[in-house]
Amino acid sequence: MGYTHEGRDYALRFCRFRYGVPVSVPAVLALADGTLFKGESVGLPGQSVGEVVFNTALTGYQEILSDPSYCRQIVSLTYPHIGNTGTNPEDDESAQVFATGLVIRDLPVVYSNWRATEGLGHYLQRKQVVAIAGIDTRKLTRILREKGAQSGCIVAGEVIDDAAAVAAARACPGLQGMDLAREVSAAKPYTWDQGGWSLEAGFAEAAATPERSWRVVAYDFGVKRNILRLLADRNCEITVVPANTPASEALAYQPDGVFLSNGPGDPEPCGYALEAIKAFLQQQIPLFGICLGHQLLALASGAKSLKMKFGHHGANHPVQDIASGEVMITSQNHGFAIDEDSLPSTLQATHRSLFDGSLQGIQCNDRPAFGFQGHPEASPGPHDASPLFDHFIKLMAAARS
């Protein structure tokens, strides 16, 4: 690169665009099946392993990287230019990057966006993420599509041992049976009052919302901030609690409703959460589960989960509301799903994926509880499913009256 701005953000008068990190360190992505991809490092030097998944969203790389649900996963983004708009403090979905690695085709040297404060390269280094660019990511997608999700290893550095990389990939355990929710969950309870973002005003301030009418306890299995913001926008007074909080402690907050968050890994081993959920169900507390939260709700009601071939990761997935026929374009990020055939009579399927027919939503017939497999909070992705949050409010209202 002919630019002499190495390693430094070079702010021009307009402060609208900056030079990012120059690229020169080699990197390798090894898959458990032995496939090797050679590219360049665009993050921290070092080695990292995880289950390799691909995400087809065209926007929202910062939100994806900071989504706790990507814990122990190496995420490959199918759109070739990643980093065009840099990063900014507003678009993180959690305090850290949980993905163990990033795989892309190209990280542009210059990023441009009026909100950008830091280039993706710097961001990755600061957040200590190993990342590789310059590889045929479409070939990678094809392999994952055909063979299913598998473990991988990124090695970034001047000296790389390919065989060792493959071995490291093979040694990496899959996500089946992994209880990762506890790993990413908050250590202790906290309250949340920030509302949603708008172009004009940024994030809504707590004070801007006149009356906090609904007390909600949100179980943090790896919660994305935008979920909490959308609840706050709907006048919810939110207490976020750790994943393993017993029902009794949660009930001590006298919640109008309990929210079960998204999160990484397999729902099976999260027995502690199932116990709590069963208690809430029994007490007719309004319940809303998203993604992992939805799976846990289903398991607590007697359904079974399964590991998907390569999962759903993207922002273009059509989901149909079975009752109305309405189609929503949704954000998706899950490698496990609930087997619709296993639903007990107390659960009813409410949504299905139009891509593969898999179960996308459930509701309890005799309790004010429902779950959604996709991400109605979007961020990134379309906002089509956001009315589900309103449904949760309605359930709380009905329960209160």
Binding site: T56, T85, D106, V110, G381
Partner: protein
């Protein structure tokens, strides 16, 4: 919801002739609609005046009408065919306006025709600037501050509230016609007058300027259950201020975060809902303030558009096909996504894993008087699209695909220093070459900040261009032999073509190609699948890129590859796409696997299911050879895509590519002046006397030998540019001393000009032995007017049978002499009894679709099968079919889009499109062709005549006929005298320079309904220029040739008849 069973037949209106702002994309959408609805069992009635379209092929619809797109004609069609519904969203602004007219005139109500796809109110709400603004306000979306004016006074009054610069946008027009940006009062008045005249509702919007903002476009589809999806977000490389059609555009959007993207997505859906687009595709345009993200809605179109064609090709999601299905009741979830073989539904949002760049193609060189500056009125005539895994790769592929002679970011200063002042000016006031000036800015060393301040092009794009220049400069000291393979790999991944690298490395394209192949550096082909490889694609829609894995999966079937025509330009347009598509369809039916190669996103040929396999690639030697190497076709057809593939024929043959049909050598023979002269002599035919002058001195001598008048032109220029007709030595002097330079390297060609000769076009097909004439067309305008700009009649309207037979005989001789296998086109000139051969083109010609529609024989299909080895006899095509009815083709000219351009026709082609009129007499057919071209011939009023001296005798005849038809005559002094001397009443009117009131005053006062104006000589042309220009702006019928005027008299002599003809009936009549 399944499809509707209460409707059985549907009328689809096409877009009419190709004009700037409305091109092949509506043939593409129309064809998709026909396919989508016919397979559902609906009876399709199609109306379109453009014979060059694939949609007007008799097999596309159940009833096809090549008739003027006017509500009166459409009313007749509706009366006869009784359609249950009208789908007006496939034929651009033309069709929408027709639908509104039909509604307003009560035709739809009278015959119980339901509008499907868009309601009258939705169309009105989207197109009416004031209602649209109100609607946006209603849903809380910002639009640029604006006011609506219906008159000049009102506009003047309101302008103050907006200030300068102000953007003027006429209502209900397309491609920004009549609009512009005014920086001062004078410009404001000019543009408003023009805009008020252009708007059918006499309404203009005066809008706050958001020049320099970022511009985006969203392609949206909605179904009747309110399911909405975004097909594609497009970001403009050029900032606001350059019409989207003239902008370089990129998909997907590059510089939006998810938050901003979702705001735009939500706004797009809200717009569709508010406007009330119940089903179908629409686009919504946005402006974004680069400093704070403030978003404004610019406009929306409640129909498929050029952008939706682009979005369809860019993503593999067929918007028009889906929109047609939705219009008859389906919902998105009920439709399959064909590109994945239907395993996924159409109700999703495509995700792509490559970058698409579109670059418009301009033809400013054809209109030297027009200022080559881009603004809110679209001026490009075509576009090229390219795909790559990176923006740089797609940009450089697109630049090569443009075929403007550049091989990448070529400098604008080939022979010297970069003129920084020129670069700055060109970036501030963008013209067609702005991206090359931008590259030169980087070469000069300007920094991003300065370039941004000048151009307002987003820094992300700026850097991408700057990085390419960086790479180029790094090669300054390098040589091919010293290059590392890794460097070559990087350069190829950034999209550098072999030809560009050869230039930068001081090598040859062949050497670069061989060098990299030796190191195994070659592209792979990736599939366009709408889903970023999440699902396997069943469709072979491919593009090249430098990656690891190839997905072409070529098989061993017997394949024939057809090379398309590339971007539309004047002289090479939809006609060639028609031919390519016909070839593909014929060969597919014959059992061949067909491969299409093209890079024009507007076309039917680049629909992924036209051919078995589609390679969306630039038509360059490098790209074609790569595809050939991958596919190994049994035959390649280079004759159907116009000059583009023809230019590759020799080089392809040299590389061992199996070209079928007429040999490249025969093509060369026909184009090589000396070899061709030889052939003509051997065959005992005549050519106009001609010589080649290699210095100014010999030119005079040679001119004497040939005899005046002369057609003079430089030998190296194609397409009639710089061609002139000179009548004497003085004229020749002026030409060789002022217009061109004559030298050994650039000789000037002198041909005897056949004054008052009738030009004749013949299309024929030959299988190597038998020759079948497709049709003989007599030109209306005399020789000297480019054949593409001349109207013509099939069968001939004045040539006698004996001359026609001699023409047939000569055609046969030439076909055999050139050993033609496939199509050929010959231009003859007939002067009295003498027949001269002007030109032979052993390839598809611009007239092939017209001849096919007129004669009922699809020449392009027949010829394609000949090339594949099936003889004419085997095909059962052994005789020429001469219709008993007349078909007239008329050219459509783009003068209205280029202010200060003269309307005079000459040897340089200027038309962008064509229409066809059919009648039982020549006059009827001609009248309909004129009407279809937008000129409803006046039946009464006052005619103005002003002709050059030599035309006076003819003018007297025309005057007499006009008086007989009931016209009043006015004429300039000389012309008036000649008419009065013949005893015809005629009033004298002042020329412009003779004092007021003059003819232009009369025109402006609407006192003239028809103009015949011929002129020659620089001064006379200059003097009469305002007359023609004013006539154009006032929509007054005019003819600038006597031949045209005479044809007009024949048309006016016909009683007005509203006879309409179903193409299928005409062809049946011919076959019987």
């Amino acid at each position: 919801m399944p499809k509707r069973n209460d409707i059985k037949s549907i009328l689809i209106i096409g877009a009419g002739p190709i004009i700037i702002g409305q091109a092949c994309e509506f043939d593409y959408s129309g064809v998709q609609a026909c396919k989508a609805l016919r397979e559902e069992g609906y009876r399709i009635i199609l109306a379109n005046s453009n014979p060059a379209t694939i949609m007007t092929d008799p097999g596309m619809a159940d009833a096809t009408y090549i008739e003027p797109l006017h509500w009166r004609t459409l009313a007749k069609i509706i009366e006869r065919e009784c359609p249950d519904a009208l789908l007006p969203t496939m034929g651009g602004q033309t069709a929408l306006n027709c639908a509104l007219d039909l509604h307003r005139e009560g035709v739809l109500e009278k015959f119980g025709v339901e509008l499907i796809g868009a309601s009258r109110d939705a169309i009105d709400k989207a197109e009416d600037r004031e209602r649209f603004r109100e609607a946006m306000k209603h849903i809380g979306l910002e639009t640029p501050r604006s006011v609506v004016a219906h008159s000049m006074e009102e506009a003047n009054q309101l302008q103050g509230t907006i200030g300068f610069p102000v953007i003027i946008r006429p209502s209900f027009t397309m491609g920004g016609t009549g609009g512009g940006i005014a920086y001062n009062r004078e410009e404001f008045i000019d543009i408003c007058e023009q805009g008020l005249a252009a708007s059918p509702t006499c309404e203009v919007l005066l809008e706050e300027s958001v020049l320099g903002w970022k511009e985006f476009e969203m392609e949206v589809v909605r179904d009747r259950k309110d399911n909405c999806i975004i097909i594609c977000a497009i970001e403009n490389f050029d900032p606001m201020g350059v019409h989207t059609g003239d902008s370089i555009t990129v998909a997907p959007a590059q510089t939006l975060t998810d938050r901003e993207y979702q705001i735009m997505r939500n706004a797009s859906l809200a717009v569709l809902r508010e406007i009330g687009v119940e089903t179908g595709g629409s686009n919504v345009q946005f402006g974004i303030n680069p400093d704070d993200g403030r978003m404004v809605i610019i406009e929306m179109n409640p129909r498929v558009s050029r952008s939706s064609a682009l979005a369809s090709k860019a993503t593999g999601f067929p918007i028009a096909w889906v929109a047609a299905k939705l219009a008859v009741g389906y919902t998105l979830d009920e439709l399959g996504n064909n590109i994945t073989g239907g395993v996924t539904p159409a109700s999703f949002e495509p995700s792509i894993d490559y970058v698409v760049t579109k670059i418009p193609r301009f033809n400013f060189e054809k209109f030297p008087q027009a200022t080559a500056r881009l603004g809110t009125q679209m001026k490009s005539v075509g576009e090229v699209m390219a795909m790559g895994r990176t923006f740089q790769e797609s940009l450089q592929k697109a630049l090569r695909g443009l075929e403007t002679g550049i091989n990448g970011l070529s400098t604008m200063f080939e022979d010297g220093e970069i003129d920084a002042a020129e670069v700055r000016q060109q970036l501030q006031q963008p013209g067609p070459e702005r991206i090359r000036y931008l590259a030169d800015g980087f070469r000069y060393g300007m920094d991003m900040e300065e370039l941004y301040t000048l151009s307002h092009i987003d820094p992300w794009f700026l850097h991408q261009v700057g990085d390419l220049i960086n790479e180029e400069q790094a090669l300054a000291e390098a040589s091919l032999d010293g290059l590392k393979p890794a460097t070559m790999w990087r350069l190829k991944r950034k999209g550098f073509g072999d030809c560009r690298l050869a230039r930068l490395l001081g090598s040859s394209e062949t050497a670069v190609r061989e060098w990299r192949l030796q190191y195994g550096i070659k592209p792979v082909f990736k599939r366009v699948d709408s889903c970023a490889a999440e699902f396997p694609a069943t469709t072979a829609y491919l593009y090249s890129t430098y990656e690891e894995e190839c997905e072409a999966a070529a098989d061993n079937r017997k394949k024939i590859m057809v090379l398309g025509g590339g971007p539309n330009r004047i002289g090479q347009g939809i006609e060639f796409d028609y031919c390519c598509v016909q070839a593909v369809l014929a060969l597919r039916e014959e059992g061949y696997e067909t491969i299409m190669v093209n890079c024009n996103p507007e076309t039917v040929s680049t629909d992924y299911d036209t051919a078995d396999r589609l390679y969306f690639e630039p038509l360059t030697l490098e790209n074609v050879l790569q595809i050939v190497a991958c596919e190994k076709p049994a035959g390649v057809i280079v004759h159907y895509g116009g000059q583009t593939p023809l230019g590759l024929a020799r080089a392809l043959k040299a590389e061992g590519v199996p070209i079928i049909g007429t040999s490249p050598d025969a093509i060369d023979l026909a184009e090589d002046r000396e070899r061709f002269q030889q052939l003509v002599m051997e065959l005992g035919l005549r050519q106009p006397e001609n010589r080649t002058a290699r210095n100014p001195e010999s030119a005079v001598q040679l001119a004497e030998e040939v005899g005046y008048p002369l057609v003079v032109r430089p030998s190296y220029v194609l397409g009639g540019r710089a061609m002139e007709i000179v009548h004497d030595e003085e004229g020749l002097h002026r030409y060789i001393h002022h217009a061109v330079s004559v030298s050994n390297d650039s000789p000037v060609l002198l041909d005897h000009f056949l004054d008052d000769a009738i030009e004749v076009d013949v299309d024929a097909v030959c299988d190597g032995e038998m020759v079948v004439i497709g049709g003989i067309m007599e030109h209306i305008e005399q020789a000297g007017v480019h054949s593409g700009d001349s109207a013509c009649s099939l069968p001939p309207c004045s040539l006698d049978a004996e001359v026609q037979d001699r023409i047939r005989e000569q055609t046969r001789k030439l076909a055999r002499g050139l050993e033609v296998v496939g199509l050929m086109n010959i231009q003859f000139a007939v002067q009295g009894e003498d027949i001269y051969v002007l030109e032979v083109n052993p390839r598809a010609s611009r007239t092939v679709p017209f001849v096919s529609k007129a004669s009922g024989v699809s020449l392009a299909r027949v010829a394609a099968l000949c090339m594949a080895g099936k003889s004419l006899t085997e095909q059962g095509i052994t005789h020429e079919r001469v219709p008993e009815y007349f078909s007239v083709k008329e050219a459509v000219l783009p003068f209205i889009k280029f202010s200060s351009v003269d309307l005079i026709l000459g040897p340089e082609m200027k038309s962008t499109g064509e229409v066809m009129g059919v009648g039982r007499s020549f006059g009827e057919a001609f009248a309909k062709a004129q009407w279809a071209a937008g000129d409803a011939l006046p039946r009464k009023g006052r005619a103005f005549l002003s002709v050059r001296r030599r035309d006076r005798a003819l003018c007297v005849e025309v005057g007499r006929e006009l008086v007989r038809l009931g016209f009043e005559l006015v004429a300039t002094r000389g012309t008036a005298r000649a008419i009065e001397q013949a005893g015809i009443e005629c009033r004298v009117v002042n020329k412009v320079k003779e004092g007021r009131p003059h003819i232009v005053d009369m025109l402006k006062n609407d006192e003239i309904t028809l103009i015949v104006n011929t002129t020659e000589g620089k001064q006379a042309i200059l003097d009469s220029y305002t007359i023609r220009r004013t006539a154009l702006q006032r929509g007054v019928t005019y003819s600038t040739t006597m031949a045209g005027a005479r044809a007009m008299m024949l048309a006016l002599g016909e009683p007005v008849r509203d006879r309409i003809n179903r193409l299928q009936d005409l062809h049946r009549e011919l076959a019987s």
